[in-house]
């Protein structure tokens, strides 16, 4: 076995009393794809931030090709040949692909070396099948292409070790295949890759070896991921066995949400074109599709944030007139947003404030313009207990909670008022297996109680487990709807790329 490209030895990092990382060893050899697994809060991000120079470790050392290295900034990391592709891209949207590549690269005599950049880009592109049009502005690229650009950027800067943080979360199945073949090609040429993901089937398909973290420590290593079951890996991550929830047969009742030929203008993102959907009481309808095919507009219309140009929407038998969040909520709509931090809660205020936000004007939490602080506190405390939200108390800043706990808080806030319809976007994105399992169970509980649920998601496996029916969006239309018994990744994938619709 060749000497490790990079080796982390005994990395320990504490935040106050919390040990985010404790005596973690990790190594990547040239040509190796290492899977880094762990639940949220297990210390993956901390470890990678130490490697990338964002945090100074309390103890431990980093060796690059056998020599101790001091990495105290991302510039050090880049110089040491470490490249990172974050979940949220760091690109300048108005600049072109080539310009983004050349940011921060010293040119010749103060001039930007465009010609040299083009040559390098062409080399990298052809080597790994990462084609990009150098003259397109980043704003015109799809999410998958932006990710490709981030990878090319890292290679452009001479990265020999590439860290990818949940790279497949934003991709369609076909794009995932493209990414994987590119990563395999890079590994074949001697690069090291650290692949962080929650999706165990992907980890098994791609990686050569895995390191599993739990509570900041190495919980175990998997030497042959391809021949290890997902269940075994999940058990390493959680410390106990995980059983997927069983979805019983559905007994759908009346139509609780009806969208009738809804169209929107191309205000921002993809517009909706003649979207008609029905969600019945006691069923879960999934909305699949590559991100950017109108899901956002759909969620905005149903949430009452955007009024459609044409078409009608009915919630629990009543037609929506004004399309305001307050109106749809009064009709019985609950909403779990895709972006917890931006449209869901208020990170800088106490958790209790976020938990009562949509209903602050109701008699439960205020009267004659005055808040009922005791009622607000009691409500928050009750939900924290009922949903096992891990936090010091209702007055904790919401932003201090982990993603899974935030999602539980949002779920608690909506479910406490027995919505007739629940719209959910990406319910388990970024959540670990345990938290995701909890969320799924709650959805199934609500389904059993007769709530109609609409789940917008990109994780097809999740949708097939959870939903009774799955509708696929493509370019603002519903490309087709399948019973989940008839659905497969292949069939959904065809609909998602518009192939079946055209045939």
């Amino acid at each position: 076995m060749p000497a490790p490209l990079i080796e982390m030895r005994g990395i320990t990092k504490s935040f106050g009393a919390v040990k985010a990382s404790e005596a973690v060893d990790l190594s990547v050899a040239p040509g190796e794809i290492l899977g880094l697994l762990g639940e949220n809060g297990a210390g993956k991000t901390t470890l990678m931030n130490v490697l990338f120079g964002a945090y100074a470790p309390d103890a431990g050392e980093i060796l690059i090709q056998g020599r101790p290295a001091r990495i105290t900034s991302s510039a050090d990391a880049l110089a040491a040949g470490i490249g990172m592709v974050h979940q949220h891209f760091h690109l300048a949207p108005r600049l072109t692909v080539l310009e983004n590549l050349l940011i921060g690269i010293p040119g010749k005599a103060g001039r930007i070396d465009r010609a040299g950049g083009l040559v390098r880009l062409a080399e990298i592109s052809s080597q790994h099948g990462l084609t990009l049009d150098p003259n397109l502005p980043v704003s015109a690229l799809s999410v998958g292409e932006q990710q490709r650009l981030e990878i090319v950027k890292a290679l452009f800067r001479g990265a020999r070790l590439l860290i990818l943080d949940e790279p497949t979360a934003v991709l369609a199945p076909s794009e995932v295949d493209g990414l994987f073949s590119a990563l395999r090609s890079m590994a074949a040429q001697g690069l090291g890759i650290i692949f962080i993901s929650h999706k165990l089937n992907e980890v098994r398909a791609l990686t050569h070896r895995c390191t599993v973290l739990r509570h900041g420590r190495v919980a175990g290593r998997v030497d042959d991921p391809a021949n290890t079951t997902s269940a075994a890996m999940a058990q390493l991550m959680c410390g106990h066995e995980i059983v997927p929830p069983a979805r019983g047969p559905s007994t759908p009742g009346a139509d609780v949400l009806i969208l009738d030929r809804i169209s929107t203008s191309r205000h921002s993102g993809t517009a909706l074109r003649d979207v008609s959907l029905v969600v019945r009481a006691g069923e879960i309808l999934g909305i699949a599709g590559v991100s950017g095919n109108g899901q956002r507009a759909l969620a905005e219309v149903i949430s009452g944030v955007r009024a459609p140009d044409n078409g009608q929407m009915t919630i629990a038998g009543k037609q929506v007139v004004h399309f305001s969040p307050r109106e749809v909520q009064a009709l019985g709509l609950g909403r779990i947003p895709e972006d917890r931090m931006t449209t869901g809660l208020v990170t800088n205020l106490p958790l209790a404030d976020s938990m009562v936000l949509p209903r602050i004007g109701t008699s439960a939490f205020s009267a004659r313009g005055l808040l009922k602080p005791d009622a607000i506190r009691a409500f928050a405390e009750a939900q924290i207990k009922a949903y096992d939200i891990r936090c010091p108390g209702p007055m904790t800043r919401a932003g201090a909670l982990s993603g899974g706990n935030l999602q539980k808080a949002l779920l608690a806030r909506e479910l406490a008022f027995d919505p007739k319809v629940l719209i959910v976007s990406q319910p388990t994105r970024g959540l670990d297996i345990g938290a995701a399992r909890f969320i799924h169970e709650k959805f199934l509980d609500m389904r059993a109680k007769g709530c109609g649920i609409i789940v917008i998601g990109e994780d097809l496996e999740e949708l097939m487990v959870l939903c009774d029916r799955i509708a696929v969006m493509y370019e603002g239309r519903i490309a087709g709807t399948l019973d989940s018994a008839d659905a497969s990744v292949a069939r959904l994938g065809l609909l998602m790329t518009g192939a079946e619709g055209k045939a």
Partner: protein, 351 residues
């Protein structure tokens, strides 16, 4: 080597410690200027302290100056809570002064005059603040720029008024006619300039605190300021909240002007405010936008202003030092606020 690292939590005692730290840093930094002016640092600060807080008369003079800054501080604190960047408290104060002076010059029973002056001043301040808020809500005009520039518009409009129609035809001075004697605010302590306005200011602070912390409007203001998107999705009419906040903020700043006309100057002149509107920003930041904290912060700045004049007479250090202290205090506080989100760590010693 040192570096900034993100904090996961902020200790509670920071809220009190940060302003004190900022003030201490300010005094240390400004002592350099005093030394440059050739005066003794401790002597100068000593004179400043005695002249502003050293005896009961000095204290009343400081409180007279504090009253308008409590109002402008509250105005800014309320606005900044909603992230309505009202830099226009100065103009709103002047508008309030002009309106209350106009009303106060009309003969009528004293209490009625005072009431109407208050209403008129608050309304005028609110009307001025409405302009940048409406421009922001309707046309996405940057409220920092529009509210700041509006200060000059109001100031020169006031100048045009007192150089024109209001000019004292007898003396030729650019000052407005005085308000009726019966409209003069009652003096609280005989022989001082301490007037009713201070009481109103001291009552306003806890009222505004109550509004922010305990009312649905306050809740909406806080949520809108911290995350307008979540507020919108949560059914809050963000535009309406911004307009309400602006009206409230402008009215408070207008009240600062009412107090100056009714309780201190009894007329309007060009220098009726030595920048109380801008000082309100410093006050609000030192108070960390807490309406209760506005009172001590305003008294501190008022003490600096009162003390600086005496220090200038006694030691020859220019009274402009007061402005320098204010500006430095704002910068120091902004830097101090950094430590609520970050902490300093030494690196390179871990190995």
């Amino acid at each position: 080597m040192f570096r900034l690292e993100v904090r996961t939590s902020t200790p509670a005692w920071f809220n009190l410690a940060l302003p004190l730290l900022a003030i201490a840093a300010t005094l240390v930094l400004c002592s350099g200027l005093i030394a440059l002016a050739g005066a003794g640092v401790f002597e100068s600060y000593g004179v400043m302290f005695t002249a502003s807080l050293g005896d009961s008369y000095a204290i009343t003079e400081t409180l007279v100056r504090a009253a308008p800054m409590i109002f402008t501080g509250l105005a800014v604190a309320v606005a900044f809570r909603a992230k309505f960047w009202n830099i226009g408290a100065e103009g709103q104060l002047l508008a309030g002064a002009v309106a209350s002076c106009f009303v106060g010059a009309i003969p009528m029973p004293g209490p009625l005059a005072m009431l109407l002056m208050t209403i008129a001043g608050a309304a005028a301040g609110a009307a001025v603040a409405l302009v940048p808020a409406a421009l922001r809500v309707k046309f996405k005009v940057d409220d920092v720029v529009s509210s700041l520039l509006l200060n000059s518009v109001i100031y020169y409009a006031l100048m045009a008024l007192i150089e024109g129609p209001w000019k004292d035809s007898f003396s030729g001075y650019p000052i407005s006619p005085p308000i009726e004697d019966s409209a003069n605010f009652p003096v609280l302590i005989e022989g001082t300039r301490l007037h009713l306005g201070l009481i109103v200011a001291l009552v306003a602070a806890p009222l505004i605190w109550f509004l922010i912390v305990r009312t649905t409007l306050g809740f909406r203001i806080r949520v809108t300021g911290e995350n307008p998107e979540a507020a919108r999705y949560g059914g809050i009419h963000v535009e309406r909240v911004l307009i309400s906040t602006a009206l409230l903020s402008g009215a408070l700043a207008g009240l600062a002007g009412v107090g100056e006309v009714g309780g201190v100057h009894f007329q309007v002149m060009s220098d009726i405010s030595p920048g109380y509107g801008y000082s309100g920003i410093v006050v609000a930041m030192l108070a960390r936008l807490n309406p209760l904290g506005v009172v001590p912060a305003a008294i501190f700045l008022a003490a600096v202003m009162t003390g600086a004049e005496a220090m200038s007479r006694a030691t020859g250090v220019p009274a402009f030092l007061s402005d320098v202290i204010q500006g430095t205090a704002l910068l120091a506080m902004l830097v101090a606020l950094l430590f609520t989100a970050y902490r300093i760590r030494r690196v390179g010693v871990a190995r």
